[in-house]
């Protein structure tokens, strides 16, 4: 390995917008050997994406590498190439796969044309040859009916399929280096695993080096032998993954690894003897079909008869892929969706019957949504947001409300100085704290947490998970924790229910589900989840 020149060699890369503003990437250096995979890891704003885009010289307008930066591909400098020469490198020698499969293929161009475009540009090939190669590649990535796929439009495929197609069209040119920018972040766990495995297969076959950009340490641990950890534009630590991730030297790397969800963190609580608070019985939920001209599509069944019980004070995690119906159940319990059949009871009271008693009980149940930005009214100051549920309690005076809001601010760790800010003036983590404050301000007995941390950065995720747990220990509310993230679930859940296609396929205590999964789907999910302690085994423990 030492004899060969590196495939990609980045030296002292500094990227800044204009002359005066601070750089977004500072003094970054790393090498990628031919056929090797290196991961750039960091949270949002770490500069990892901009560093990767510098390699292809695709930085958004005012950003540019400053003098003294160097990016060499097999020894030849890329930063001094003319635009025309750079175009010959892009696609042909360095390929790139993007994050959002929904927007990274041109919606107005058939798949075949998009695949052929780069081939035609970089190689002299006849139309028949292009077609043959495209078909062979689609077959290689196990697309059913490749001929039909060539003539299809991007919107006809799911996100996972599009990501495979994108990968295929990039690898078709046999590039020397592949840049993969969070290639699976937008996908479900099982699909994630599929796409990554395919990427590794193809790159290994062709001997392509990979620059992987990711925020997911578990994924890095599993796939990338070397890693660069970035924080605010600076590489704080780099080296072999096995070493960096198991024995981090820099405090930031430590905090990232510490942020990984861990079962030990949750401790274990015995919840078998608790009385049932919420009972869901034979619940069926249909979404009305799309309204068309003079007719309606048939309703779509999201949940096919689900039974579950949540004991007071316990956390039940509902796990599954997107579209499995897990979110719908949470929304049905708090009354946002009405089931077409079945019963939902709160301490024996039927919540599907309208009446003052139902309204009173509903106030004891709250929800925290996934995206803290869209769950807060953009025009409401956050003190008002948290105080709003209290307005319904006629016995409270304005002074009472203020005291209560202050107390809750403190409990969720929000500085009182932020009280008159608007939601968009807060960070993602602070916004989620506001949403949690609003949910607990009236001391609910039950909270639905619908993917409460999946829109947040890793270190923030950890804080929010800990906060939820601490609040629960203090106030004793029960929680339905809806998530696709097995790591988070492992940390917070007392019991786990696994959903697939609108049905609960397996339910048990956390340890049962994680240690001795019975159902095939649960096993596949666990297998696909890139939990770091599974990649490095006992080293992490």
């Amino acid at each position: 390995m030492n004899a060969q020149p590196p495939l990609l060699s980045v030296r002292n890369l500094t990227v800044r917008p204009g002359r005066t503003l601070p750089p977004v990437v500072r003094d970054l250096s790393f090498d990628i050997a031919p056929g090797e995979m290196l991961a750039l890891v960091g949270e949002s704003g770490s500069g990892k994406t901009m560093a990767a885009r510098s390699v292809l010289r695709l930085l958004p307008a005012p950003l540019m590498p400053v003098e003294g930066s160097s990016i060499r591909l097999k020894g030849s400098e890329l930063l001094t190439l003319s635009d025309h020469e750079m175009c010959k490198v892009r696609g042909a020698r360095i390929g790139m796969v993007f994050q959002e499969p929904m927007v990274s293929l041109n919606p107005a161009m058939q798949i075949g044309k998009q695949m052929a475009e780069a081939l035609r540009l970089h190689h002299r090939l006849s139309d028949a040859e292009i077609r043959d190669r495209s078909l062979a590649m689609l077959e290689r990535i196990r697309i059913k009916d490749p001929a039909k796929c060539l003539a299809a439009w991007p919107h006809e495929f799911s996100g996972g399929m599009r990501q495979r197609i994108m990968l295929a069209s990039v690898m078709l040119l046999k590039p020397e280096l592949l840049i993969a920018d969070e290639p699976t972040t937008a996908l479900d766990t099982l699909v994630q695993r599929d796409v990554l495995d395919l990427m590794v297969e193809l790159t290994q076959e062709q001997g392509t080096g990979v620059l992987l950009i990711s925020h997911d340490l578990g994924m890095v641990a599993k796939y990338a032998p070397s890693v660069v950890v970035m924080q605010s534009g600076i590489a704080v630590e780099q080296g072999r993954s096995a070493k960096v991730l198991t024995a981090p030297a820099h405090p930031y790397t430590k905090s990232l690894i510490d942020a990984l969800p861990r079962r030990a963190e949750g401790g274990s609580r015995d919840t078998t003897a608790r009385p049932a608070l919420i009972e869901v019985q034979g619940v069926v939920i249909d979404y009305p079909g799309r309204e068309r001209f003079l007719r309606r599509d048939p309703p779509k069944r999201a949940v096919h008869g689900v039974d579950l019980t949540i004991g007071s004070g316990e956390t039940l995690a509902l796990v599954g892929a997107s579209g499995s119906g897990k979110t719908t159940i949470g929304r049905a319990i708090v009354g946002l969706v009405r089931p077409s059949a079945g019963a939902i009871r709160y301490q024996g009271h039927d919540l599907l019957q309208a009446g003052p008693e139902t309204a009173r009980l509903r106030a004891r149940m709250q929800i925290v949504f996934q995206d803290p930005y869209s769950s807060l009214d953009p025009r409401q100051r956050i003190e008002k947001v948290v105080a709003e549920p209290l307005l319904l309690d006629k016995a409270m005076t304005a002074a009472d409300r203020r005291d209560r809001v202050r107390a809750v601010f403190e409990e969720v760790g929000l500085p009182w100085a932020l009280a008159d800010r608007l939601p968009h003036q807060l960070s993602g983590g602070q916004r989620q704290r506001v949403a949690i404050a609003r949910a607990i301000v009236r001391n609910p007995a039950f909270v639905v947490a619908d993917e409460p941390v999946s829109a947040l950065d890793m270190t923030v995720q950890k804080q929010i998970l800990r906060l939820i747990r601490a609040l629960q220990d203090k106030h004793g509310f029960a929680c339905l924790f809806v998530s696709h993230d097995l790591g988070a679930v492992e940390q917070v859940a007392d019991r786990v229910a696994v959903m697939e296609n609108g049905l609960i396929v397996e339910m048990g205590t956390r340890d049962e589900i994680f240690d001795t999964p019975q159902h095939d789907y649960t096993r596949r999910l666990l297998d696909a989840a890139m939990l770091i302690d599974r990649s490095f085994g006992a080293v992490m423990a």
């Binding site: 695709l58 175009c87 892009r90 696609g91 790139m96 990274s104 041109n106 919606p107 107005a108 780069a118």
Partner: protein
């Protein structure tokens, strides 16, 4: 695809029905009895009753509407109360005049404005962008009738290069016809190009920040190929809708331009009808213009899937 086309065409029918109802209602709200208006002040009481019966005005409103709708569907738009001529042939004659001006103007405006808007977007915040947007906003703020009057004063009265009054059809005399077309078309092009340019720029900017544009660049395509092969079609879709709207609404707004240049078009016919209280003419013109507007928008929608295949899903 077929289902999309069929659905879209069928859904235009209720709209048209309500449009006809609205026009019928509007004509009935107008103060004054059409029959009395036709007879003038000199009518005797018996005459009025007789005419009302002949015009069907004594029947209940729904019956009147049904009769009128039946006539309209068979191509009978009634007769002008002023001249006694059948309205529909008159409309067709005047429409051919308006259509010539409008189509030529919208064609030129689009040919100038769409590339201008896209170039401005591609060079966002650079000098050429500021100039293009500035010019577009300026033209957007100039009323067509003023621009027309100024052109008329400068090129017609002062310089004497172009004819000031009247209209010659291109079909009758190509040379003269074109000469008469220059100023009205120029007026409309300038005014409408502003809106189209701004729209083309805005939608191109919107598209340019999407990931598939970066993906296209990452394939090694030149800027020109990225812009025309990937950005153009996606950015053009909303602009295309706007061009359709402009084309449709110009048929109503052109009354103003026709007044400036004394062109005997459909718009002028409507205005003259309003002044003369010639209700069959007003009713007919409004119905025809509204129908065209719906038809143009329908056509725009039917072509839209070619630009954005997602809409048929």
């Amino acid at each position: 695809m077929l289902r999309f086309l069929l659905t879209r065409i069928l859904s235009a029918i209720p709209t048209m029905l309500i449009v006809t109802m609205a026009i019928f209602a509007l004509m009935r709200i107008i103060p004054g009895d059409p029959a009395a208006l036709m007879l003038g002040d000199m009518a005797q009481p018996g005459q009025l009753e007789e005419l009302r019966a002949r015009m069907g005005l004594d029947k209940p409103l729904p019956v009147q509407f049904a009769t009128w709708l039946g006539n309209v569907l068979t191509g009978d738009f009634g007769k002008s109360t002023a001249t006694g001529e059948a309205v529909l042939p008159l409309i067709f004659e005047r429409f051919s005049v308006s259509a010539t001006v409008v189509l030529v103007a919208v064609l030129f405006a689009s040919l100038i404005a769409v590339p201008a808007g896209m170039i401005a977007a591609w060079r966002q915040n650079r000098l050429s962008d500021v100039m293009i947007v500035g010019t577009a906003t300026l033209f957007l703020s100039i009323p067509s009738f003023w621009l027309g009057l100024m052109l008329l004063t400068i090129f017609g009265l002062w310089l004497g290069w172009l004819p000031v009054v009247g209209y010659v059809s291109v079909a009758d005399n190509l040379g003269d016809g074109l000469l008469y077309l220059i100023m009205p078309v120029m007026t409309l092009v300038m005014v409408e190009a502003g809106a189209i340019t701004r729209m083309a720029r805005a939608s191109t900017i919107e598209v340019a920040r999407l990931e598939y544009i970066t993906h296209a660049r990452a394939k090694g395509l030149s800027e020109r190929a990225v812009m025309w092969r990937h950005a153009f079609r996606n950015a053009f879709a909303p602009t295309w809708t706007l061009i359709g709207l402009i084309l449709g609404s110009l048929l109503a707004n052109i009354a103003v331009t026709e007044t400036v240049f004394t062109i005997p078009g459909l718009g002028r016919m409507l205005i003259d009808g309003i002044f003369a209280r010639d209700y069959p003419v007003v009713q007919g013109c409004m119905l025809f213009i509204a129908f065209l507007y719906v038809a143009v928008n329908l056509l725009v929608d039917l072509i839209y899937p070619l630009l954005d295949p997602r809409v048929t899903a």
